[in-house]
Every structure is written in C-alpha cells, then in structure tokens.
Amino acid sequence: MIRAKDINEHTPWQDLTPGGEIYEPGTARAFNTGTWRTHTPVFHADACKHCMLCVPFCPDSAIPVKDGKRLDFDYMHCKGCGICEDVCPFPAITMVAGGVPK
C-alpha cells in the first residue's frame, strides 16, 4: 500500500494512488499551514490552570494536549485568529503582532 509520506512531486502517475486516495488518517499534520498568521499567540505556562477552554475553541488543532495538560502552541498549524486569547479566563495567552512567535 502506498503511504502519503512516500508520495511527492516527483512521483510518476503509475505510483500514485487511484484518484488520490489517502490510506491513513491525519496526514494534514505533516503540512505546514501556519504561514497565514499576522498575529501570534504566546503561551504563558505559569499563568495557565489547564481549564482546557482554549482547546475546543481553537478552529484548527493548534493546541496540543498531553496527559490532561495543554502544551505550547503548534505554530505549524496556528492561523493566529486570537480566539484562544479571547476565551482564556486567565492571563495565560497574549497575542503579539507579527507572524513569528516571540
């Protein structure tokens, strides 16, 4: 079975899957879609209570969670919309101008 990681812009048509089918889940993780940001969220871990409000509000999947705790932003997928800052009840997220996390 052909895997997404084995397909690239040099793959001949004979080696591509029929109709571009993808035989595994979650392949969007491998693509950098975080280049749209004009503003960037900054995570202040010391102020975070891990209430998890920001996680479901994120329209992408840019806030990874591990063992019941949120981790720093996944900037490869964050679009910089700022919804997380808006819903955060604590001073744990601040938006800064520019597309690069500081």
Partner: protein, 396 residues
Amino acid sequence: MKSRLSGNEAVAYAMKQVNPDVMGAFPITPSTEIAEYFAAYVANGEVNTEFVTVESEHSSMSVCIAAQAAGARSVCATSSCGLALMYELLYVAASCRLPITLACVNRALSGPININHDYSDSMGARDSGWIQIYAENNQEAYDNFIMAIPIGEAPEVRLPVMTCMDGFITSHAVENIELLDTGVVRQFVGEYSPQHYLLKKENPLAVGPYDISAYYMEHKVQEAEAMKAAKARILEVAKEFEKISGRRYGLFEEYRMEDADLALVIMGSSAGTGKTAVDKLREAGIKAGLVKIRVFRPFPGEELAQTLAGTRAVAVMDKSEGFSANGGPLFAETRSALYDLKQRPYLINIVYGLGGRDIKVEDFEQVFKRLASIAESGDIHPVYSHMGHRTKGAIA
C-alpha cells in the same frame, strides 16, 4: 424468461436482479419511472437496497458517491435536466474512481422546454470521465445495465458507467424481452469488493482530497488510462455475457457492412429505422450498410476506422447539436478517427431528430441518395447540415 416490458421497467428489473446496496433517487420528474418502479421493489421488500430520496439530482449523485466510497454498490437513474444538474458530481464520481452505475434516459435539455428524445443530456456529459453505453431497444437497455457493473468495477477500470436509452421511444414503449434468471444475474455481477473503502475500519481512508497542480495532471492521466483499459474490459464482459444470454455485443454493431459502399454511423433506436432503409436499398442492389455505435466512451476510434475504411461515402447521424458550428459530437469523433486512414471515405454530418423530431425510413433513403451522389461527384458540401426541419430550401 420471455416477457413484455417498457425500457424503464426493463432497467428497473435489471436493478432489482442486481440488488444494489444503495440507490440515490430524486423522486419526481425529470427522474424516470425507473426509480418509481424500483421504489416499489424496495417497499415490497424484494430488494435489500437502501433507497435514499433526496431533493435534487445534485444530491442523488452525491449520495451515490458517498455510498460507493463507503464500500456500497450504488445505482442511480435520471434523465435530461436531471443529468445536467448532476454535472458537477459526475466529474467527482469519475475522478474519485467510483464505479457507480447510472441509467440515463436520454431526453432533450431545455431550452426551449422539451421532454422528448435526443442526446443533448448525455452528450453534454461526454467528457466527464464516465463510460457511456447506448441501447437501441429495451433488450439492450436491460443487458447493458447488467454488463455495466462488472465493467465499471474491474480494478483496471474503476470508472462510473452510464447506460443510456432513448427517452419515450425506448423508455416507454413496451417490447418483447428476454430476461435472465435472477440467480444468473447475481452470479454474473458478483459481490462488490473494492480493495479500499471508508467503512473498512482497519484501513482509514480519505477520498477526494484537494489535488494541487503537482498531482492533478497525474491523476487525470490515470483516469485517461483507465478509460483506455475499459475498451478491453467491455469486450471481455460482453463475451461472458454472451455465455449466459446468447446475445452478442461489441463496441459497435455492424449491419450489412461487409461490402458496403455507402454507410451510416448512428446511435440508439434510430438505428432500427436505418436498418430497414438499408434492407430496402440492398434489395434494390445498392450496397448500403450501417454502424450503430454502442460504446461512445471510450470511443472505438481505431475499430470504427477499420470498419469504414472500405466504404466510399458515410453519413454520421447526430441526434444532438453541440453548437460547434463544425458538426455534432458523433461526427467530431468519427471524422477524427478516420484521419489516420490512408484512404478515407467521403464524410458528411447530418443533425436530425432534435427534441423528438421523428425520422422515417424514407428520410434515411434520402440520406443514402445523397451519399450515392457524393460517391460519384466527390462534392460533400455542405459537410454539416440539419435534416427534418422546415426550411425554405431543403438540402438532403
């Protein structure tokens, strides 16, 4: 088993015998009686099909696409502007390589508003990546639908198939028909067993992803290769079908073509009328013949060129316009196919029968008369003309 059925009944009966998993159905006009008859089979518990009624043909084809991707054998039936409303999804079905089977009852597209037969609906979809097989009569409509399933589902093909019949002329007229036993049909079509499908839990699958320009062309080449491969598969399935039915099918039918000087290239029920004209002319000593195109996609160009190579003059009869100002779609294909011949017959195009305008044996005799004069004089002008309309100075 001998019976008497309309074309719509015959195709609905074929569907019942196939017992598909899903039918996407728009339950009102311009959908056909096929869906209506099939609904009765569903209501009576004669099939196990999930019959999904929707609000438009755009949605009925969407249902089929989703179901087929999920791993279910799906069928659909439509006609005329219903097919036009499916247009966007026809391409999606083909490019996702989903072998859906669609019964198309050919009727004119609006406008002006008209519900009678011509091929403007399916000819509009001829470049969508669907295999297209046309029937002359009810028997062929029934047979073609059954054959469509193993054609489309073959792994080297994996393309949707449209089986077409002439609206009203074939769809509503009751004819004698020979039906196969349901057990034989079931065995012939077998189970639908795709390698990958959405409901296969051990194998997560994404269907129809966004295809950037670095990949789109390769996938279109795949589709084009599949369409080429379909030609051999259609013949293979026809051979298998002959074993269970005794009826023989090819990419096209040659009628009295062995030594023909003058020939027609035509599709559908008009071929029956044309054959009668051929017989009459043969009795009068004129070497007339007829080629009835059965498979329009993939187009049997090389084979057709071989068949027409020995003729002197040929009229391609188009029952849809196309507004290319250069002839109808069947003419474009035929003329292109003949270009590779060293010695080509004279070729003209006649557009006839639009919106259900009748064509009679005498009309075909007129066409052959013109072909005879072309074979003598070599004067093919006008190459492209219309027939059967009222005009102030008739041509044919």
